[in-house]
């Protein structure tokens, strides 16, 4: 554990996140009010929305790291991009699992072509290709460049996917709209709290993953020397 959390910031972050995440789960299940039409199904939104936010944030970081890597040619940014891509995909898979769990009792079926879910699915499929490219792309240095380009292409496609799917299926605008300022405090504050905790968790996971990738890089470099 001390190798994964080598600095003081990571250790503090780990302890704070663990405590606050326990509080968050308690608040979600025991404190937040039941929404009359949705009952327990609504509780998943305190998890579903924050993981969707961290997933898309992660893919945004893949794009940013890709741009910086192509400009600076520093392999550190390739590892940041890879860590963000892995975590982003993990969070996006969770979105694709929790979305249908909520949708089944509310919409009566697990999947409809709702723009946000569809955009998430298409991004996920793009990143399946991203990892295939990383695996089969050939020389490590070239793969880093290609992956950076693909990360940029995947993210600039997001608004186009969202807008076209939204127009394609206007009848499927059933997703709860983000009018959180109209929500009672009993829902709004736990929701914002959960968003904050999941962002903290994401930062911690990113630090650990980058650390592991740095170790791996160091080992491979030493081996080659």
């Amino acid at each position: 554990m001390s190798r994964l959390l080598p600095d003081k910031i990571s250790k503090i972050l780990f302890i704070v996140t663990a405590i606050l995440m326990s509080v968050n789960l308690y608040v979600i299940f025991a404190v937040t009010p039941m929404v009359p039409e949705q009952h327990w199904a609504q509780k998943i939104f305190y998890v579903h929305v924050p993981i969707a936010w961290t997933g898309f944030l992660s893919y945004f970081i893949v794009m940013l790291a890709g741009i910086i890597f192509l400009v600076k040619k520093d392999s550190k940014w390739d590892r940041v991009g890879l860590a963000a891509a892995e975590l982003g995909t993990m969070f996006v898979v969770l979105v694709l699992i929790t979305g249908p769990i909520w949708a089944t009792p509310i919409w009566g079926k697990p999947w409809i072509w709702e723009p946000r879910l569809t955009t998430t699915l298409i991004l996920f499929l793009t990143y399946v290709g991203y990892f295939m490219l990383r695996k089969f792309g050939g020389h490590a240095e070239r793969v880093a460049r290609l992956a950076a380009v693909l990360g940029i292409l995947a993210f600039i496609n997001v608004p186009l996917i969202f807008y076209s799917v939204k127009l394609w299926t206007p009848q499927f605008q059933l997703h709860p709209q983000v009018e959180m300022n109209q929500q009672p405090d009993g829902i709004l504050f736990p929701f914002l709290f959960s968003m904050f905790i999941f962002t903290l968790l994401y930062i911690l996971m990113m630090r650990i993953r980058i650390q592991i990738l740095n170790f791996k890089h160091k080992l491979l470099t030493e081996e080659n020397v």
Binding site: L70, I122, L123, L125, T126, V128, G129, Y130, M132, L133, F136, G137, G138, R142, R145, L146, A148, V149, L150, I152, L153, A154, I156, N157, L160, I161, Y163, S164, V165, L167, W168
Partner: protein, 220 residues
């Protein structure tokens, strides 16, 4: 320099006839499968025809795109091209334009059997449909050349191309199908112009992305 590179692409294709013929042969086979699989009444066929057309184009183009870099990869001629003092963005433009010509030519040859085999009636006006198809082709080839270049030296490049290409093309495909349906059902242009706008936006964004990023893809 651009015209020289386009001439080179066209000359190579004229000699080998690989890209257009492979797309045409594959497209006709898929069309045959469509004809047998969707043997519905004329009204149903009329409804689904735009979707079938773009599925056909997408499948055929993925095959052609794979071959666009295939020959240069086989003979390692691409290393010579990028070693020459040519701006790599110009190489992208030449591939984009030549790919567009190959795909348009294939569609021109396949559109008659498409209408014949599926028993479709001709729309009243041809011009809007032609415009939609041209913009769609530009979008498919812009992304296709980028992705084909990405996967050129990868193992399993034939698998990698469609896996990467199809999700990236989703917004374009939706817009192509919707605007083609609008034209095919003789709706006024205002009815489907938003879709054409999305297609143009897509072409501009990915055309610029290709022009800017192709240098990074081809770096040795």
């Amino acid at each position: 320099m651009l015209s020289v590179l386009i001439k080179k692409e066209l000359f190579v294709e004229l000699r080998n006839k690989e890209v257009v013929f492979s797309m045409l042969a594959f497209g006709t086979s898929v069309l045959l499968i469509f004809s047998f699989s969707f043997n519905g009444n004329p009204k149903t066929m009329h409804e689904i025809a735009p979707g079938l057309f773009w599925t056909l184009v997408l499948l055929s183009s993925s095959l052609g795109l794979h071959r666009m870099f295939g020959l240069e990869k086989d003979l390692d001629a691409f290393s010579s091209i990028i070693a020459s003092p040519i701006d790599r963005s110009i190489i992208f433009l030449s591939k984009w334009i030549s790919g567009f010509i190959f795909l348009s030519l294939t569609e021109l040859l396949i559109v008659i059997p498409f209408f014949l085999f599926l028993g479709l009636s001709k729309p009243m006006s041809i011009l809007p449909g032609l415009g939609i198809v041209m913009i769609g082709n530009l979008g498919i080839i812009a992304v296709g050349v980028l992705i084909s270049g990405l996967g050129m030296r990868a193992r399993m490049s034939a698998v990698l191309l469609p896996v990467l290409l199809f999700p990236l093309l989703t917004p374009l495909l939706i817009s192509c199908v919707k605007s083609t349906a609008g034209w095919f059902h003789d709706n006024p242009f205002e009815f489907y112009q938003i879709w054409v706008m999305i297609m143009i936006t897509y072409v501009v964004i990915f055309g610029l992305a290709g022009f800017t990023l192709f240098d990074q893809i081809t770096e040795e």
